[in-house]
Symmetry: C2
Subunit: 460 residues, 2 copies
Amino acid sequence: MISGNLKKEFENLLGEKNVMGDEVTRMNYAYDAAVLDPVMPALVLRPDSSEQLGAAIRLCGEHGVPATVRGAGTNLSGGTIPYKNGVVILTNAMNKIIEINEVDMYAIVQPGVVTADFAAAVAAKGLFYPPDPGSMKVSTLAGNVAENAGGLRGLKYGVTKDYVMGMDFFDVEGNLIKTGSKTVKGVTGFNVSGLMIASEGCLGVFNEITLKLIPPPRASKCMMAIYDSVAEATESVAAIIAAKIVPCTLEFMDNFTIRAVEDYAKVGLPLDAKALLLIEVDGHPAEVADDAAKVEEICKKYNARDIHVAKDEAEKNKVWEARRAALSALAKLKPTLVLEDATVPRSKIPDMVSGLDVVAAKYGLSIGTFGHAGDGNLHPTILCDRRDEKEWHKVETAVKDIFDLALGMGGTLSGEHGIGIAKAGFMAQEVGEQSLSYFRKIKKAVDPKGILNPGKVIGD
Amino acid sequence: MISGNLKKEFENLLGEKNVMGDEVTRMNYAYDAAVLDPVMPALVLRPDSSEQLGAAIRLCGEHGVPATVRGAGTNLSGGTIPYKNGVVILTNAMNKIIEINEVDMYAIVQPGVVTADFAAAVAAKGLFYPPDPGSMKVSTLAGNVAENAGGLRGLKYGVTKDYVMGMDFFDVEGNLIKTGSKTVKGVTGFNVSGLMIASEGCLGVFNEITLKLIPPPRASKCMMAIYDSVAEATESVAAIIAAKIVPCTLEFMDNFTIRAVEDYAKVGLPLDAKALLLIEVDGHPAEVADDAAKVEEICKKYNARDIHVAKDEAEKNKVWEARRAALSALAKLKPTLVLEDATVPRSKIPDMVSGLDVVAAKYGLSIGTFGHAGDGNLHPTILCDRRDEKEWHKVETAVKDIFDLALGMGGTLSGEHGIGIAKAGFMAQEVGEQSLSYFRKIKKAVDPKGILNPGKVIGD
């Protein structure tokens, strides 16, 4: 429990209104986007400056108060579920874009800047910030860095990791640690900036982040290829990559998902199609024309029964609207939605998709599969009702089967959703106990009392 | 000192011929490419398998023997200078390319693979490994990762860091730690793979590294722009970037360097030119044509007196031969060559070049400046004679001035040459004592006896 005296100290630091102890607020921050049990925090703090943030962390450090920093809470692995008797620290009052440097092509941001707002501000200056996690309309940049968020463009443009140049962050004593640089090249000191990416708030608390920007592509072309066979769709994916074409986006949707999306969004998807590929190529106009023609040729070779090329921006938006609707559309069908993201090398996508069919049949579960086929990161989505204990047990076992499938193909537990609490127990299966022990040594060294987002990634 | 018994143990592990204690061999590995005092190692070890490497590290760990792992020793900051009474571990017997996966576009390599050999093997499969450090003909891939080596293509293609997908490495107890993945996306566990990049052998010993490959550019065009004014050359650099053109290479050479290169390599450089830019654009043929035309236009606008566009591969090679000769050409002029690489945001290149002139004049030193102007990473090169104590003192002071210059412009101590011993003493100036202390906590946690390449990056 947090004593009245300590609460008073937080109030002195942050102002009374930014230290929230009422039940409704605490309940609001007891859970996140993962299907996991809520944990009530003792307090919710909302610092609105670097000074306040650093002082709040220092106080948590001094008093051994577990602290979970939370952006928008959109992670899907319980990374922002608080720890018992701990505090939640909100970053949404620290949402300033400090600098967008057009000539040196970087930006400096506070942790709570919303990803889509940032992308728009960058675009307004004629530059491009590629990472586009599904939650970008609400997710925050520090949350993206803490989770190493991916998105639809990972295939060509990489993920959040590829755009972090440097940062400063608070250690558990409230000291400001500086790592990385504003230069394209920089090797000064250990790459702690790299270590902080995907650390899920376990190693420090971001204060300011320097992000790399690039010139935007000059043109793009978007198409939808419709298949009567799942295998032919997934084999097209491998063939496109093998032809040395790297589309900026290459998404897959199975029939289950197609029907759910059409029912939800009415965008005119072919209900009888076994699978869809949504493909966008971008770059120089001539390159786009060449690549689009080759992609069409490959899709035809693999018996796509129809290929719609978006004629204009409106048609293009319609294609992506369909894709973006997938999660919401599936979520409508049953009370509980388990969105997996075990990831495989992209050539294994055909095997992974057939493997998922086997899992669905084995447990009699409804699994809709869609996602980033081009980078091997599918999102098999299990629809169920968590209140049905028997079914829930099947779901948990099916998820383990999916992990086994992915790891057996040289894949990984999580492509972009994080480890959090949800997958912490499976870490050793992928990396081994010795690696886990190395990770824990680092955690222990920089957070000896274990107050920074306890229980996440490496377990308790 | 290493006891006879311990030497025997190493011999039992590695075979007698791979445990070298003779003075000549030890002297050969007492220094590296940096201008620093040699330190004699007690033994030189040459494991030729993962098992031998792991066992050697474990033995060092158990007996508290300082271990410096060495690729080709081409780093320029003393990163491979051994520690007193320590061992040098050579990686050149572990030089196998384990896999080049064309469909999933990654490769797995042993630590001692030579960079250029790897790039050639990848090219033979129709793929591209972009990092091209100046020493790539002899440097090793693990050395590149340990130093986060850069090169000429950093501007467009990034540096070694951007191509490391994962690895396994030995910790100080000889355990094999697994981090990262073979998938485009992967967020399983802390990004320890990121931390290992640029760690200069202080945190673990690489066993196998997974590297990302990309499709090669379809075309390229190379040109040399000749200027009667340094300012106009450096302003062209900023203007090219501001026009949202990202050449794959954008190199600068001052008059001092031009004359040295021409004297050395006889490639027909204009001896009276105040500066040269060497520029290569690549990509789709139409993009290359467009970009090359725009670059020419910009160079003309900034009064380039002449622009030679390479007509064919032979002419292109001549341009790059001139650039590659710079270091050797300058090295011929005086007994000692101090090659700096303090780096600035690229818009500051004009200020940095004039600042270097001021430093040269202040101390009456010869400084030839060339390097990767497009990414802000110049290599001011001080020619001197280390045996001349008075001059050497001036050089050391001038180097400090160069650091101040770069840091004052928001730059960094080292763009690609590493911190090693040479710049360890300056770390706090850039990152502050608190950051340094955070770095040291990580080091202490994973290497409590401090035997992994002691003294490098964070000092003793």
